[in-house]
Structure formats: C-alpha cells, structure tokens
C-alpha cells in the first residue's frame, strides 16, 4: 500500500552515503523486502557502507598487476586451437587465445570479421523481409548470376546471365549492364539477353585485363560481406554476416543501426568513437573468456580497456602501444627489445627520472606502491589557477 512512500524514504537515507547506483538499488530492494523501519534501515545502510569502503581498492594499490595476473593465469588455460564453430549458424569465428591477442593488439583486420545485424520492426518480423535486407547486404559477384566467356576470335567478352539467379537476387539485366559499363569504362551491347563487351584494341592483354575486372565485379550488396545468415532470435530475425563493414551496413534500408554491431573493434572506433570502442573491447574480451569457461572479473578487463583508450585513440597493449609509450627508458627496456631501447635512448640523450615501479626495482630502490607511495607533504597543490 505505502510501498512507494517507503521507497522515497529509503532513498532519502542514502543522502550522506556515496554508494554506486547498483549497490544502492540492491540495498533498497532488500530493505523493501524485509519492510524495515527507519531505524533499522539506517543501521543496515551504515553497516553496508562500512563493508563497501573496506572493499574499495586502496590508494597506492597495484591494480594493474592484479589485473595482469587475473587475466594472465586463466589465459594459460585457454585453448591454442584457432578455429571453432561459434554456435551462431556455421560462421567461423576465431576464438580462444588467438582472439584475445587480436583484441589486445587492436588488429585493424581481424582474421574473422563478423557482424550481427538487427533489423527495423518492419523487416524483423518475417523471413522474406529479412531475406530482402540480406540481399541488399550480401556481396553478389557477377559470376554468381552470370556466365562469362571470352571470345578470342572476335575480341569480346560475353556475359550470359542466369535469369533465375537474377530474379532470386532481385536484379535486372539493365542493372548488370550499368555496373559493368561503370567498372570497365567501355560500352556494353545487349544482344538477346546477353551482354557483350567489345574490345577495341586488338590486344590479348587488354582482353584478359577486362575479363579479370568483370569477373571480380560486385553487382549487388557490400563488397566486404561475404555471406549472410538469417536466424530467428526470440520473435525477430537477425542477420549474421561473414565479413564486416559497419559504415555501409548501417546505411542499408531495413537495418536498425542502433543495434547493429561488428566484432572488428577498430571499425567501431572509427565509426562510433572511443567510448564505443571501450565498450566493444570489454564485450569482446569478456565473451572470449566466457566462451572458454574462464571466469575473469569485468573490473580487470575494464582497467585494460581504460588503459587502451585513455589517450582518445585505440592503443594496443604491447611495445607499439601502452608498454612502448612509457616515459621511463628502463621500464621500456625491461619489457621488450632491451638493446634497441637502450641504444635509442642513449642516442637521444634521454633521462630516466626513476618515477615508476620497474625502474626503481632495477636500481634497487623502494618502489612507489602501497605504503612505499606515502610521503609527508606540507601542502599539496595541483591544478587550478595559481
């Protein structure tokens, strides 16, 4: 009866406590369940807050090391096997360790790009409508719908389309003609259902060049999308594709671009920005680990994703990214390519300020971590106007 009033009351009690949204919600739900009065609720919240504070990372804690170990140890148990059928309709997806390396290295072209395309309401309900969208997306090569022959004697190329295939792909002979004309920059003549390209120059090489060009021609769909599979998920049809081109697919009619994703993180970064890329890294890394039956806390992955996206651009973990951009020479030398790093630093006359952890271990000084990071400071001032 007075449920809603109670909720407001509980909400008020949280004023002085800096809880994260989710924990707050959980406590309120529990308080509602036991229908606690104000005194009890206050007590519960106080106790919860103390536990919450105890569980927070302390300043100076080496979170990066904890994350590295927490991902590294389960990583040793991952399968080395590269290929796997990923439950999703016969599409081959790189999984396991190779995939995890791919994510952390920010490969611009992952070995198995794949998209999950969701459709707008109008198209998501029936298989035929979904097929329509699939046809618009899937790359149709000319050899899928027509036979191409070279006529050496008359120096011409004859394209004879298969009418049934054309119909299935919802293409017209005229479309085909236009596409070919645009690609080879030559006039195409239509002759009883066949398209003929006459080569003006009597050169065998030109003929073969044009033939190769025609053969590779994509007459419909998006070049990168090699295959589309339609699957029913819940009450809507979803398209899965082999190959990925987020920018183009988003603009296809019938595609709900807000729910269309790819597993190519770099593409997400280019189209949707750094924050979306961060989310994509977390999602991809978590699903890769989970698929292998490994439980890694998201917090560790989130830390890695934060480090990779902190500068506003995607940086890989490793010597060309996060580890390679450390300011300390010794820390870089300790990671990879020791001699190169030391030599380059010497040539440039770099100075190591010994501010980090690795370099202080190397020279045998106390490191600035945990209690080692605490110093007496008379007045600490950063930021703002002086």
């Amino acid at each position: 009866m007075n449920m809603s009033e109670d909720k407001v009351r509980y909400e008020e009690l949280f004023k002085d406590y800096n809880f994260p949204e989710k924990i707050k919600g959980e406590i309120i739900r529990e308080l509602e369940r036991i229908n606690a009065d104000e005194r009890l609720a206050k007590k519960v919240i106080e106790r919860c807050y103390n536990v919450y504070l105890k569980n927070l990372m302390e300043p100076g804690e080496a979170t990066g090391i904890v994350a590295a170990q927490s991902i590294g140890e389960p990583g040793t148990q991952m399968t080395m096997r590269t290929f796997h059928y990923a439950g999703v309709a016969e599409i081959n997806v790189t999984l396991g360790l190779p995939r995890l390396i791919e994510i952390l290295d920010v490969r611009k072209n992952p070995s198995t790009p794949m998209m999950t395309i969701r459709l707008t309401e109008e198209y998501a309900k029936s298989r035929e409508k979904a097929r329509e969208v699939a046809n618009r997306i899937e790359a149709t090569h000319i050899i899928d719908v027509a036979e191409i022959i070279t006529d050496l004697r008359n120096m011409r190329i004859i394209v004879s389309p298969d009418e049934k295939a054309l119909e299935r792909k919802d293409l017209k002979l005229q479309d085909l003609k236009k596409k070919i004309e645009k690609a080879v920059k030559m006039d195409v003549v239509e002759e009883d259902g066949k398209l003929i390209i006459q080569i003006e120059e009597p050169s065998y090489k030109t003929l073969m060049d044009v033939f190769e060009k025609v053969k590779k021609l994509v007459v419909a769909g998006i070049k990168e999308i090699k295959r589309v599979i339609i699957r029913k998920e819940g009450d809507e049809y979803v398209l899965y594709t082999e190959g990925s081109n987020l920018k183009k697919v988003m603009r296809v009619k019938g595609v709900d671009f807000t729910r269309t994703v790819t597993n190519n993180i770099y593409e997400i970064y280019e189209v949707l920005g750094i924050e979306a890329a961060r989310n994509a890294i977390i999602n991809e890394a978590m699903s890769t680990l989970e698929e292998q039956g490994l439980e890694v806390d998201v917090r560790h992955i989130m830390l890695v994703a934060d480090a990779m996206t902190a500068d506003g651009e995607l940086k890989q973990i490793g010597r060309h990214g996060v580890a390679g951009e450390k300011q300390s020479i010794l820390a870089r030398a300790a990671f990879e390519m020791t001699v190169n790093n030391l030599l380059d630093a010497a040539v440039r006359g770099e100075v190591d300020m010994l501010n980090g952890i690795t370099e202080n271990i190397i020279v045998g000084q106390p490191i600035k971590l945990g209690t080692g990071d605490v110093e007496l400071v008379a007045k600490f001032f950063t930021g703002g106007e002086k």
Binding site: P20, I23, T258, L272, T382, G384
Partner: protein, 76 residues
C-alpha cells in the same frame, strides 16, 4: 536520413560541459584538465555534440559493476 551515432547501443551518453561546470569539476577532483583521459576532436561523437579542443566532455557509462559511472574526457 541523418544518423545520430549517439543512439547506438555501444555509445554511452556524452555531454558537453560549460566552462563554469568544467572548472567546478576540476576543483572537486583536484586535478588539472590535462590529467583527464582524452577524446579526440575528430571523434564521431565529439563532433556530433560539437566539442572543441580544450572542452571537457562528461560521459555517463552504464557500468556492469556500479550501475552507472561518470567519467570525464578532455577534448584534444
């Protein structure tokens, strides 16, 4: 049709901060704005909200651990 990349499920809410707001936040955090994580001015979302280099963007993320988390990025 104009696409708003901000509507995509992977993109958290971005807000451009006013000068005064930005100063207040830096004061609370006790840091200079160069200490914040960065976002490029060419970033598709930064462009959409019209952020210029030197501005601060507030990002409201859906966090799996905290429910909601607020972070700031400096536009460069």
């Amino acid at each position: 049709m104009k696409f708003r990349m901000q509507d995509h499920i992977l993109v958290p809410k971005h807000e451009l901060l006013k000068k005064k707001e930005a100063e207040e936040i830096l004061n609370v955090l006790g840091i200079a704005k160069e200490d914040l994580p960065k976002i490029k001015a060419e970033d598709p979302i930064a462009k959409e909200i019209g952020a210029k280099p030197g501005d601060i963007v507030r990002i409201i993320r859906d966090s799996p651990t905290a429910g909601k988390s607020i972070v700031y990025r400096l536009v460069i």
